[in-house]
């Protein structure tokens, strides 16, 4: 890859990007949906705090280290993918990793709110993360990715 890449053509550098089986992030979204739903019911209890802390750690690994370190992704690759047919096509790792970062922001807010004893804030933050995870799992809709361009339009005017 060289300076001949035309930056107005987003596809030019594609072959160098990390690729993932798109069913992996959706599987992770489904597990996340269950974890966050239980966490919402248990907000304010020790078990709820453990679930919030666990999911925060999961998002942190996925966003900061990479999808290959995301626990649900590891479960998918080790236990689920061997039983499935090969994926029809791969997708870029950047969008699902960005989604992990968005989830991380919500869960850090939920974790801090839990530590400070503000269950209402924790509940609202987990509710947003739950909505995003469920939309990803059920409809393949990446909330953070869809918001990304609007965010980019707001900054740097």
């Amino acid at each position: 890859m060289s300076s001949t890449i035309d930056r107005t053509s987003a596809g030019a550098g594609d072959c160098t990007r990390e690729q993932v089986d798109p069913r992996g992030p959706r599987f992770g979204g489904a597990v996340t949906t269950v974890v966050l739903a239980v966490a919402l019911v248990l907000v304010g209890t020790p078990a709820g705090f453990v679930l919030i802390a666990w999911q925060t750690l999961v998002f942190a690994l996925g966003a900061l280290v990479g999808l290959q370190a995301q626990p649900y992704g590891i479960v998918y690759r080790r236990l689920v993918r061997p039983r499935l047919t090969p994926p029809a096509e791969l997708e870029d790792a950047a969008p699902p990793r960005f989604a992990q970062a968005v989830g991380l922001v919500f869960m850090v807010i939920a974790l801090i709110a839990s530590v400070l004893g503000v269950p209402v804030v924790a509940t609202v933050a987990i509710a947003f993360a739950l909505a995003a995870a469920f939309l990803n799992a059920a409809f393949n809709f990446c909330l953070g990715c869809e918001m990304y361009l609007l965010g980019a339009r707001l900054r740097a005017r």
């Binding site: 930056r7 739903a37 969008p95 361009l149 980019a152 740097a156």
Partner: protein
């Protein structure tokens, strides 16, 4: 009612709150997701949607305005910006412009569909524009999502657009609408 029982009721109450929040979130998200699945990627006439006057370059004139020659009208900023971005890359008969970004799941599949179709149909070019690198153009055209696909006729006027990944059959049909009476365009 003893204090212990009161505390018990409170515990029960907060548990129920969490459950209702879960059900509410899943319900709202389901409605939104179904709407998203239906509307995403649907190809619409440019005039029907919000940004249409800017996209088509046709500014509706008030009744008491003197009649204006559309051809002689100065192009709107959006039209001028798009024309500048596409300079030298327009298709002879039609141009399909795809706006993409780095964090965009359906952009790859959209690119593949549009490349397949534009290779198939002579005189049609596929131009992919990185939305983040062209934010001024994105604002001028009021593009909110990636992928957004614009269908331009041979004159460079935006005739149709879709936000989200369009289906291949719809892309072919849209190009057929844009180029009526093309005998070599039979699929």
């Amino acid at each position: 009612m003893g204090p212990g029982m009161h505390r018990g009721c409170e515990r029960f109450g907060s548990d129920m709150t969490g459950l209702w929040v879960v059900l509410g979130v899943l319900g709202v998200a389901t409605v939104f997701g179904l709407w998203f699945q239906r509307s995403s990627g649907r190809i619409r006439e440019a005039r029907d949607a919000g940004p249409s006057p800017a996209l088509t370059g046709v500014v509706p004139a008030a009744d008491d305005d003197p009649p204006v020659d559309i051809e002689a009208d100065a192009p709107t900023p959006a039209v001028a910006a798009l024309a500048a971005a596409l300079e030298g890359r327009m298709g002879e008969r039609a141009t399909v412009v795809q706006f993409s970004s780095a964090f965009c799941q359906p952009c790859r599949a959209t690119r593949r569909i549009l490349e397949e179709v534009t290779v198939l149909v002579p005189g049609v070019s596929h131009v992919e524009i990185d939305a983040e690198d062209n934010l001024d153009l994105v604002r001028a055209l009021d593009i909110r999502r990636t992928p957004t696909v614009l269908f331009l006729d041979s004159q460079g006027t935006v005739r149709k657009h879709a936000s989200g990944q369009p289906r291949k059959a719809d892309v072919i049909a849209a190009l057929g609408d844009l180029m009526p009476g093309s005998p070599d365009f039979e699929i």
